[in-house]
């Protein structure tokens, strides 16, 4: 173990945006060989502080001391040169370049003719991936990767700089337990090499497993720093939200009625074949599986985003045809998609415009003329209901904090009042308190007789919320478990393809 010397000290840092003070006079210290967890509700200012540190934002006030020297970075490249790299909450891949080119962008190995030395590039990438136990082809195109794989690539990229300080802003929001374990192994290794790691996450289990010390922010203000060992969960939550939270999975049992949806022989060539399952009114159907199991592809096909080659969809006993999302919506489907940046939101539009995008017709007369007052009322309701932290409904959605953006996606689909709600990683990046609220909402929707399909890479969420779980492995449904039967081990077993016969 390297001696715990102070690596970084931030004092009195403030930062304002039009309409909000995102950081008010906050303090943060990081030592060598330490994992320092930064926690706080959505919009508390965590990402903002990290972006100030990484040279993306200029601070309004305060000091940053790196190894005892006053520094101010005006661009990410300056921060990287000083030994600070960052895994961003919002993934920022260059979609048309290959994985290897993305990782070594701007520092590609070159031949003596100054062209890119592809062989060396590949070797470097393979070596990096080997160290991280990653199984991704260096030459696959970035945009063809799943969100989880992209996140792993970002992690690989951040570690490839050999930085002293690595900032990880919700690195595990889209990856499954297996990759998380892998990441933790990497973090421990980095720690032993003397790096300092700043770790932001809303997942309690992770924090207690990997963190050494924790700092909590609330509403842009510093609350407290304390060691993680011996810290009570409930105390941590009340530090964060200022009150107690009873239950993160407030599962209410409600009557499961007749079949609302029946899927038969659904096939997406090359991904999955002949999948069949049913969903009932009042039921929350969890779908578990590892990265690449085909869960997202399954629901996207169901929703008409991808073209199925075969398969029947029967809703309430009647066969329906879904060839595009608008068909799905017309048939009472809604989908909270996994990828909020590219699929869920129009980032250039405001919070309000995003919330009403799918249901715009409800606020018109003759289908075209907007009734802005009625729309405004709905938007305000939704902002309140989901407690979306925003300077106003006109704020551009890209400037919301990650968790609040996620709430906008959920709010948008709740407004459409669907019969069948598909949720793909719905609580990605959402804080504990809001998570409990959203879980409560999901349960009450189920109790209203809707059918809910829940995909989550967080097993506790699947186990805590579902009435029934389907487990997928490499495009096949490898198991189905009722509420009384599922345990973490059992699901993991099926998800890795080892069938469990008993």
């Amino acid at each position: 173990m390297v001696e715990k010397s102070c690596l970084l000290k931030m004092e009195g840092v403030s930062k304002s945006f039009p309409g909000v003070k995102a950081l008010k006079d906050v303090t943060f210290t990081l030592n060598r060989g330490e994992v320092h967890v930064l926690m706080g509700e959505n919009g508390a200012g965590k990402s903002t502080l990290m972006k100030v540190l990484a040279g993306l934002y200029n601070r309004d006030a305060g000091r940053i001391l790196l190894n005892g020297h006053d520094v101010a970075f005006h661009s990410p490249s300056e921060a990287i040169a000083a030994g600070i790299s960052m895994i961003h909450q919002e993934l920022m891949p260059i979609p048309h370049l290959t994985v290897a080119e993305n990782i070594y962008l701007g520092r590609e190995p070159v031949t003596f003719l100054r062209t890119i030395d592809r062989r060396k590039l590949e070797a470097m990438t393979r070596e990096l991936f080997e160290r991280l136990h990653l199984n991704i082809d260096p030459w696959s195109i970035m945009k063809d990767l799943s969100v989880a794989e992209m996140q792993m690539v970002e992690i690989a990229k951040a570690t490839s700089w050999n930085s002293d300080i690595i900032i990880m802003d919700e690195p595990t929001s889209a990856i499954t337990d297996q990759e998380v374990e892998n990441l933790f192994r990497i973090i421990r290794q980095l720690k032993n090499e003397g790096s300092g790691i700043i770790y932001i996450s809303h997942k309690m289990d992770e924090i207690f497993e990997i963190g050494d010390i924790i700092t909590v922010f609330r509403d842009g203000e510093y609350v407290q720093t304390c060691p993680i060992k011996g810290l009570e969960r409930s105390r941590l939550i009340s530090m964060m939200v200022g009150r107690e939270i009873q239950d993160i999975f407030p599962k209410t049992e409600c009557a499961i009625a007749d079949t609302i949806l029946e899927v038969k022989d659904l096939t997406l060539p090359g991904i999955f074949e002949k999948l069949s399952f049913q969903l009932h009114r009042g039921e929350i159907l969890g779908i578990a599986g590892l990265m690449g199991a085909g869960r997202t592809e399954l629901v996207e096909t169901l929703f008409g985003i991808r073209k199925k080659s075969e398969g029947r969809i029967i809703k309430d006993g009647k066969a329906i045809i879904i060839t595009s999302p608008s068909d799905a919506i017309a048939n009472g489907f809604a989908i909270v998609s996994e990828d909020r940046k590219d699929v869920g939101l129009v980032l250039k539009m405001s919070v309000g415009r995003n919330l009403t995008l799918t249901t715009l017709k409800n606020y018109t007369f003759w289908g075209q003329f907007m009734q802005e007052k009625r729309e405004h009322v709905s938007i305000q309701d939704q902002i309140r209901r989901l407690s979306i932290k925003t300077a106003g409904e006109g704020q551009q959605v890209s400037t919301l904090s990650g968790g609040n953006q996620q709430k906008v996606v959920i709010g948008k689909w709740l407004l459409s009042n669907p019969d069948i709600l598909i949720m793909d990683e719905p609580t990605r990046g959402i804080d504990v308190a809001a998570k409990a609220e959203i879980h409560k909402m999901i349960c009450s929707l189920a109790c209203e007789g809707k059918g809910i399909i829940l995909i989550s890479s967080e097993l506790p969420e699947i186990i805590g919320m579902s009435d029934r779980v389907l487990v997928m492995h490499e495009g096949q449904i490898t198991g189905e478990l009722g509420r009384n039967d599922f345990t973490q081990e059992c699901i993991m077993h099926m998800a890795t393809g080892q069938c469990l016969e008993d």
């Binding site: 999302p325 989908i335 699929v343 129009v346 995008l357």
Partner: protein, 314 residues
């Protein structure tokens, strides 16, 4: 503190301030600039390009690009003029012909870009070239002359002392402003331009929205072609050279994003006026025409630069 806030407020209006400054400078340099007569003259001259720029703006907002308006102006002008000889057809015929020509071009642009998935730059570069050829073909390379009184009065009369072109421009602006801000279709245009995938998943029919947008832009260009042929009293196959670029410039100067999803018609109007005022003002202070082009280009870049700087602050 107050100064900071003032800057924040005014930064939104960067382009408006630049425009006002330009006018002030020109008024000082030439006493004739700020007279009613000259202002009416400027407005009259900006009208046709302004109408076309409204179309270019909505195409840009929807995430597209249209290089064909200039060619549409020529084709539509020539076609309309064929039906505009004295004592042949009622005036509604050439009007319909011009607008229909524009709609047809727009439909081709829209279908090829959306269903055909060909980049709009390529598609509209193609239709622009085809349009130029068609315009020459439609009149055998000869200007169409001998137009009826009624036809000529389309762009050359006055209503309550206001030139009709200005009134038509104002009407087009008002209608499209309403569409963009108060109609569901307008919202859809912004959404599609901002993020096509998200719009598709939200249930929007992205292809038909795009086709409709290109058709509207085509119709506006066709209408502009009719007005230009009326104003110049001739259906010319080489009319409207470079209009597409002026229209795009007006939109972009006015803050419309070239990557889609962002833009305002009020900005486009200012942009169009800016271009017109620059030429008018430079004429007035006797800048030779070669120099005018250089100055004009520089001012366009400068205006957009200032605008972008003031936007990205913070």
């Amino acid at each position: 503190m107050n100064i900071v806030r003032l800057c924040e407020r005014t930064s939104k209006f960067g382009i408006y301030i630049a425009f006002i400054l330009l006018c002030v400078v020109l008024s000082i340099l030439s006493p004739y600039f700020f007279t009613v007569k000259n202002i009416v003259n400027i407005l009259n001259q900006v009208s046709i390009i302004g109408i076309i720029a409204v179309g270019s703006t909505i195409v840009l907002i929807s995430g597209g690009l249209d290089l064909s308006p200039g060619a549409i102006v020529a084709v539509a002008g020539v076609m309309a003029a064929h039906f505009g000889h004295p004592g042949q057809y009622p005036i509604i015929v050439p009007i319909t012909v011009a607008v229909a020509t524009g709609l047809a071009f727009g439909a081709v642009n829209g279908v090829l870009t959306s269903l055909g998935k060909i980049p709009p730059f390529i598609v509209t570069l193609g239709t622009m070239t085809i349009g130029r050829g068609l315009a020459l073909l439609a009149c055998d390379g000869m200007q169409v002359i001998d137009l009826s009184e009624r036809y000529i009065s389309l762009a050359n009369s006055e209503i309550f002392g206001i030139p009709i072109l200005i009134i038509l421009f104002a009407l087009v602006f008002a209608v499209f402003q309403f569409v963009l801000t108060k109609m569901r279709f307008g919202r859809h245009i912004y959404a599609v331009g901002g993020n096509e995938t998200a719009s598709h998943v939200s249930g929007l029919n992205v292809n038909s929205i795009k086709i409709a947008v290109y058709m509207l832009a085509g119709a506006l260009a066709g209408f502009g072609g009719l007005l230009l042929s009326s104003r110049t009293v001739v259906g010319s196959p080489i009319a409207g050279q470079g209009y597409e670029l002026d229209a795009i410039a007006a939109a972009v100067i006015g803050g419309t994003s070239t990557t889609g999803g962002v833009g305002k018609l009020t900005g486009t109007i200012i942009g169009a006026l800016m271009i017109q005022v620059i030429s008018n003002g430079l004429d007035m202070i006797n800048v030779p025409s070669y120099w005018q082009q250089i100055v004009k280009g520089s001012i366009i870049i400068l205006a957009v630069f200032i605008d972008m700087r003031s936007r990205n602050k913070g």
